[in-house]
Symmetry: C2
Subunit: 423 residues, 2 copies
């Protein structure tokens, strides 16, 4: 008897979505009279190969053999699962498919890029990496990837989330990662933010990680979201899903992903962009965000810093403003005031649609999905599941046999504190 | 590029290992002058279909369509993964394969039987089930399976483990399960054990669950290990593994599993018993137990109760005695004074070999496996991994290209409290 999940083959090339954007990606800028130039600093502290990936014009980039081997080892391709019990519960004619990135060893899609970046760092002879993390999924993935290539690593982790997820901290430490809850006393930026009484966020951690790299010459700074190179690495999600759907003769009507920095969304939707151009309104791409950080639904399309102090270059995307008060929630992965310029551009041109959900509602969705499918989704991924449910109910109302495909970006097994507070 | 993991097809029949034991399974007995008869009580409180499975003489039993559908839905067949990074680290010529039961939705192999038992309970029109759990993996799996079939459920959970694993408790409650830490005040047995100052174990929970079923007529008692019917359901593990190895042309030299009640071991080894009879010493079957509950390595082959008070029938297996002091450890799944008669019989006849490991050592193994493969194993499964490592090192010493296959019975994502204490 065949398995219900579709597996298929591993892609050997990454897909470059930069060639498929409706207009040229707005270039980063320096703030007026910036000293030092934020752009020059970033060039100095980032990996050369990542700067190159950000500028790549090729439509496809070969995945190096060493990275492919690791992708195989961690369990790629991840299964595409049909969520029949959810369909039955909703009594919907829609067919619902879930891309199971939560099954990867660290419990999220983040490994797809951390492995690539650690691999290239090793190729460049870089001995140490520093990065930031929101919910901790990226930090966990960085710690494992760095362990694989024997690279020292430091992670600035939004304090709010670090406190909520002690078990994730245990894992990062067991893997050899060094964690500083942000804002920390380790950097000027951190000390300044602590004086202001700022509670941590992904943005505060970004600012600290950049300063740390700029003042510790053995370190390079890497990022787990937002940038074109991260969307490039994450394209394996969409490429696999596309092949898996083709293998079972399904044509997607709706693709759904949650959106924080934008890398699971960009990685998932990217490979479908040529099809979207061809099929227009026959294929919907839907971004689900947190209503406490509603960039795509309520933000402005303009230049802004990615951190509250302004140590990052200005990038153009949807922003709530770098002083926007992000309340303490259990959705650390979406808790950001701006996001990926590429994803923003897709939103601006109406290629992707956006919706926002309340924390209470997404935990209720997570509980429902657990009770039906037995699987606990990360709070971030629950946003995507919530949008799936809304669309499946709408499909029932219209008696439309549509195919809804969603990216389950991560597992909620390390988020049970959050669930306990809401369920 | 093909995936590194082997998937293959789902078996449609369970394998009955009772036909392949070296002698007839010793029948359960009542203690001298027992009133009521323990055996009669068990007949009254257990599911009719499970009593039938325990006595089955057919070599194979068809898996009902409803159970097969659920097996597909939860992600069976589970992947058989090659642990190349572990091989490389150990510099061993051995090829190491890991059967990934940890990838199932509740994070362990226990679903294979809980789904079957809840399915049959629903067929029999039973509205409520009660059971015991040690580490909580079975309780979690029962809560989910009962949710699938809308069956009320109560779980007596060894107090030691319930305290260690609050997050697992949150999951069970979210699924609708009712948990009583054992010994509890809910039963005579529990109250008696509390007076004696007994700390909880799987055995105390068994005694309470049986009393609860005997005195609440709407409930039936189910068990997640030890009994032939559980080994029958768990045979999917071995059947899948056998096919997966055949698909890649590998012939196993050593099969390794941890042993508590004996159901992941029995389920994994069972389908290989005919091959073992044929190949003799060319195929080794190795059971890894906790040195704090060393039944197969230090126990006596004799009749004993499975609970400390003596409410269970006497069964013949290796036992440490029902008063054996089981210290408080983080290895709740192996924390038992006796075990499965079928597994005991295999041990008695030298068909399986046994080894025992200290808690400190198995957590060290878990940390090593995490650092290499990125995967966190349940402390119970770490016993099997530890035996894998010992044999792979021995293979290096002898330069023997053997094939070692181990069952990863569960994930350690809900055991990070234990890891934090040791790593």
């Amino acid at each position: 008897m065949p398995s219900a999940a579709v597996i298929g083959e591993l892609p050997t090339r990454w897909f470059n979505l930069l060639n498929h954007l409706p207009e040229r990606l707005p270039e980063p800028r320096d703030p007026e009279g910036a000293t030092p130039s934020r752009i020059e600093v970033m060039k100095r502290i980032r990996l050369k190969s990542m700067l190159a990936h950000d500028q790549a014009t090729e439509p496809w980039i070969d995945i190096p053999g060493g990275v492919l081997e690791r992708y195989q080892e961690i369990g790629r391709p991840t299964p595409l699962m049909r969520a029949r019990l959810l369909e039955r519960y909703l009594d919907t004619p829609a067919r619902i498919f879930v891309k199971r990135e939560d099954l990867l060893p660290t419990g999220s899609f983040k490994l797809n890029s951390s492995i690539a970046q650690a691999y290239y760092a090793a190729q460049e002879g870089v001995p140490a990496l520093v990065s930031e993390t929101g919910a901790g999924q990226w930090g966990h993935a960085v710690a494992y990837a760095c362990r694989l290539y024997d690279i020292k690593n430091v992670i600035f982790w939004a304090d709010v989330s670090a406190k909520q997820k002690k078990d994730r901290g245990t894992l990062i430490r067991m893997l050899g990662g060094v964690v500083y809850p942000s804002p920390s006393a380790e950097t000027e930026v951190g000390r300044l933010l602590r004086e202001r009484g700022t509670i941590g966020s992904l943005g505060t951690a970004i600012g600290e990680a950049i300063e740390f790299a700029a003042s510790n010459s053995e370190f390079r700074y890497i990022s787990g979201s937002n940038h074109p190179h991260v969307l490039l690495h994450q394209s394996v999600i969409g490429l696999e899903t596309k092949r898996q759907l083709e293998a079972i003769g399904e044509v997607p009507d709706k693709l759904i992903a949650c959106v924080g920095g934008g890398s699971n969304l960009g990685g998932f939707f990217g490979a479908f962009l040529p099809e979207k151009m061809r099929r227009g309104d026959e294929l919907h791409m839907i971004a689900a965000e947190a209503d406490t950080a509603p960039r795509l639904t309520k933000g402005e399309w303009r230049y802004d810093h990615a951190d509250p102090i302004g140590v990052t270059p200005l990038t153009k995307s949807y922003t709530l403003g770098r002083d926007f008060p992000l309340p303490e929630t259990h959705v650390g992965g979406l808790r950001q005031h701006n996001g990926s310029p590429a994803v923003g551009l897709l939103r601006k041109h109406g290629i992707i649609e956006a919706c926002a959900y309340a924390e209470k509602d997404i935990f209720e969705t997570g509980r429902l999905f657990l009770r039906l499918e037995g699987i606990l989704a990360a709070p971030e991924s629950c946003h995507a599941l919530r949008a799936v449910i809304d669309h499946a109910i709408e499909a029932r109302r219209c008696q439309r046999k549509e195919v809804i495909v969603c990216c389950m970006s991560g597992s909620g097994m390390l988020d049970l504190g959050g669930y306990a507070a809401f369920c």
